[in-house]
């Protein structure tokens, strides 16, 4: 490859997160709080609707959390393996990962649900279920409000602490340009990957798997992780494409080569999700053991069964074929479509995992889902933008920035 004259970037030319609009976080915060509160208010007058609201809340909480977790993991990977190409888009990922903090706040109502002794959600919180069900009873030392809370506190300490640490270090490098920070982050990154794997796995077991009295699956942590990658990669790619479209990011900094690579990550995430979903289903279907198939049986019937097919084709087969071509991955308009499409599919995947535990017979989709989704996304957006502040959109003094700008894939 020929020599490139390094492009010099500074905070003036690349723009920052405050340039994206006039105080969008305040509007978003208001919208978020109002939407969630309105939905809670509408649901508060009947027990069925209240339960529906709480389950919807959990679905959407997991949804917004996966973006942050996926970003957290992927940033750590980039530092550990000394990636060069991705520096120009890493700041966007860092900001996405900051969603961990607003998610921690969004988790508080769920803790309140557990401590209030509400029995309509996690069966291990119901003394009657514990008394009647040997399987739940024997887990009592692990699945109880105290342990549940302690674990959640640990997860959020890791996620919020580490994402904030990475962001702090990375923004400090914007000022100092100290390459030692990059070296330090390599070590931190390795630790982050380790912590991420542990916390995300047990969070998935605590919050999603334990909704079912009986069911378990060793691959579930990996399946959840695959979902994190799908959500994060689609969202990051979408943000980059929108920033490019609106002229906030320069196409001479984030080129078609970077977009191509981001799309490859999406394609990989889709395949990886399919691999895990298939592995889990095939093994349980094949062995046909009652306590393992029960979870799938309610998800194969009626509307849930239809949704299962939507996931097989919509979450795997169609995007697999649709995003395979190089021309598609390099086409900004088509990729905007695929990003939005995958974000919908990722939501449906979580909905299909969580909701049947509340409503095994039919899909209860309604205004609650829409309001809570809008509210949560707006709330997390507000929290993220508030933290990002006037940070430049690109890590302007990263020692590998020149390499990233010059990146040209064969």
């Amino acid at each position: 490859m020929a020599h490139h004259h390094p492009v010099k970037l500074d905070a003036e030319t690349v723009g920052n997160f405050n340039d994206l609009g006039e105080a969008p976080e305040r509007t978003a915060l208001i919208v978020g709080v109002i939407a969630i509160a309105a939905s809670a208010f509408l649901s508060a007058f009947s027990a069925v609707n209240w339960q529906h609201f709480l389950f919807t809340y959990l679905v959407n909480f997991c949804y917004v959390l996966t973006f942050s977790l996926g970003a957290f993991f992927f940033i750590a990977v980039q530092f550990v393996i000394r990636v060069g190409w991705s520096v120009v888009v890493r700041r966007i990922m860092e900001v996405v990962s900051l969603g961990a903090l607003p998610c921690a706040i969004l988790f508080l109502p769920l803790l309140a649900v557990v401590w209030s002794g509400y029995t309509g959600m996690w069966p291990w919180n119901d003394p009657k279920v514990i008394a009647e069900n040997h399987l739940v009873e024997r887990r009592d030392d692990w699945m109880n409000p105290t342990m549940f809370t302690l674990r959640a506190v640990f997860y959020f300490l890791v996620w919020v602490g580490m994402t904030r640490l990475i962001f702090k270090k990375s923004t400090r490098q914007d000022v100092t340009g100290d390459p030692k920070i990059t070296n330090q982050m390599e070590g931190w990154g390795a630790l982050c990957i380790f912590l991420f794997a542990t916390t995300a796995t047990f969070a998935a077991f605590d919050w999603i798997v334990s909704l079912d009295k009986v069911w378990f699956s060793t691959i579930f942590g990996v399946y959840f992780f695959a979902g994190c990658l799908v959500g994060f990669s689609s969202l990051t790619n979408l943000i980059v494409l929108i920033l490019l479209k609106t002229g906030k990011l320069s196409p001479s900094v984030v080129t078609v080569e970077h977009r191509h690579n981001l799309s490859k990550i999406m394609f990989f995430a889709t395949c990886f999700w399919g691999y895990n979903a298939f592995s889990q289903y095939l093994l349980y279907w094949y062995a046909n053991i009652p306590e393992e198939t029960g979870w799938f049986l309610i998800r194969e019937k009626g509307g849930w069964g239809f949704l299962a097919y939507v996931l097989i084709f919509g979450h795997f087969a169609i995007p697999f074929l649709g995003m395979m071509s190089r021309a598609v991955k390099r086409n900004a308009n088509l990729m905007i479509f695929w990003c939005c499409y995958m974000l919908v599919m990722h939501w449906l995947d979580l909905y299909w995992q969580i909701m049947p535990n509340m409503s095994p017979d039919f899909i209860p989709f309604g205004i609650t889902e829409v309001l809570v989704l809008v509210g949560m996304v707006a709330f997390v957006f507000a929290g993220v933008m508030w933290q990002a502040g006037g940070t430049p959109l690109v890590a302007i003094k990263d020692p590998r920035l020149d390499e990233s700008i010059a990146f040209h894939d064969i």
Binding site: T218, F220, L283, E403
Partner: protein, 467 residues
């Protein structure tokens, strides 16, 4: 660059923003060609190589003798006995298939990830892959009892209307492994074509000229030839990538679709794939550390290369450790008493020694690679890589034997003891593997010369290649 003064520790120091050269020393295109070709062209045979070859061939002959003894006597010569009917043959099969994952991972997946450092090691790793798959393929083949019906493994239209059981993962294995072997072989061979042409052009004897002319398929090095070569390489890499994952996924299905406690668990597919990459990289290190020392390739296969591989071993070893942990957690959480017993029995039952060997070698020993001075010390890496090889064999032993020896009914429990044939066949399979690998070292281009030149500084290019 003044390289002779660098210690291994300095050699791997990372300066962000500066990419370290992949090849060290004052090497040029010519010196790389010389270094690699000399190994195959030197009329004087390397003494170490000869000693290893003699030992390996002796072991390989022992293996062949055992196979004939098995054919003429029957499967009873093995220790396979009620209730452990799947014993060492499948353990060895899974072990060797696992080893055979590193080559195609390095050549295909690391290629797609644009990891240029792979060029120094991919050729030898691919060769190793093929030989490991050869060793793996032998075991199910000789395990069928009536060897004269071995072709029944394949579904072919026949007058008896007899078909294999399509719902059995063992049949999927036949397809998965044979597809993998074919693609790996193709990939390996195609990558060697430009290097075979170099051998041909340098050949002094008529025999070498003819052989390498045929093998290089009339390669001229034209721009059009290179263009098509690159296209084919990319396509093959894309096709080989899912195969790297599918082979061991299906091997894991052999166990996981059953209802046997300890086998039936959903993490098996990704866990087996991680384990396979883990063991494959360990074997690459076990082979390449002596090879680079014996043939003086330290400037091509640098400490930095070894360090990268150590990191992959550390990652995949930890993933395997994660899977062990999650299996235990879910065995407890799920509450199935048989599942719970299977795991308790692994750790504290009669095979506890195998279990703790596995844990020490697979989970604990790679954690030493967190320490930089260990993962940059070839001798330490070599020792740990051997531990990993041992650990990964024991992993398959633990999975296969402990679950079968004590299942649902205590009255049918048993204790598996291998026979001398079992042991000699395991040892002998290493003979086959090493014989093939040693012959490869002497006869073929053991480092991808053409590829490594593509990531070296161009002649007259002062500050190194900028990739």
């Amino acid at each position: 660059m003044a390289t002779t003064t660098l210690t291994p520790y300095e050699e791997v120091r990372e300066t962000p923003g500066h990419r370290f050269p992949i090849v060290l020393g004052n090497n040029t295109y010519h010196s790389v060609t010389e270094k690699i070709c000399r190994i195959a062209e030197d009329p004087k045979v390397n003494t170490y190589w000869l000693i290893f070859l003699i030992i390996s061939m002796a072991l390989a002959s022992m293996f062949v003798s055992c196979v004939f003894y098995l054919f003429f006597t029957g499967v009873g010569v093995w220790g396979n006995m009620n209730p452990v009917f799947w014993a060492w043959p499948i353990v060895n099969f899974v072990f060797w298939v696992g080893i055979g994952h590193a080559g195609t991972l390095i050549s295909a997946i690391l290629f797609l990830f644009r990891q240029n450092w792979r060029t120094s090691i991919n050729r030898a790793a691919e060769a190793m892959t093929i030989f490991a798959v050869v060793c793996a393929g032998i075991f199910p083949g000789i395990h069928i009892g009536r060897i004269w019906f071995v072709y029944f493994l394949f579904p072919y239209p026949n007058t008896m209307l007899m078909w294999p059981q399509f719902r059995s993962p063992l049949l999927w294995d036949v397809f998965a492994v044979s597809t993998y072997a074919t693609t790996s072989l193709l990939f390996w061979y195609m990558g060697m074509i430009p290097d075979f042409a170099t051998f041909r052009d340098r050949a002094k004897s008529r025999v070498r000229q003819v052989v390498f002319s045929v093998l290089s398929l009339g390669w001229t090095g034209s721009a059009r030839g290179w263009h098509r070569y690159e296209r084919a390489y990319l396509l093959l890499a894309a096709m080989a990538t899912p195969l790297v994952l599918s082979v061991h996924t299906i091997v894991s299905f052999d166990f996981a679709v059953s209802q046997v406690p300890g086998w039936h668990t959903t993490i098996f597919p990704p866990y087996f794939v991680a384990g396979a990459i883990f063991s494959g990289f360990a074997m690459v290190l076990t082979l390449m550390i002596p090879v680079r020392a014996i043939f003086g390739l330290q400037e091509l296969i640098t400490v930095r290369h070894l360090e990268h591989m150590c990191k992959i071993i550390m990652l995949t070893g930890t993933m395997v450790g994660y899977a062990y942990g999650i299996e235990f957690y879910i065995a407890w959480y799920g509450g199935n008493p048989y599942e719970g017993f299977a795991f308790y029995n692994r750790a504290f039952g009669p095979y506890w020694w195998a279990y703790w060997t596995m844990i020490s070698c697979n989970v604990i020993s790679p954690q030493l690679f967190w320490i930089k001075s260990i993962r940059t010390n070839p001798i330490a890496i070599f020792i740990i890589s051997i531990f990993v090889n041992i650990g990964m064999w024991f992993e398959r032993f633990v999975i296969t034997i402990t679950s079968l020896s004590r299942d649902y009914l205590p009255s049918s429990w048993g204790y598996f003891v291998p026979t001398w044939v079992d042991i000699m066949m395991l040892v002998g399979s290493f003979g086959i593997f090493f014989t093939l690998f040693l012959l490869f070292l002497r006869l073929m281009p053991i480092v991808a010369m053409a590829e490594i030149k593509s990531v070296m500084p161009m002649p007259g290019d002062g500050d190194g290649a900028h990739h």
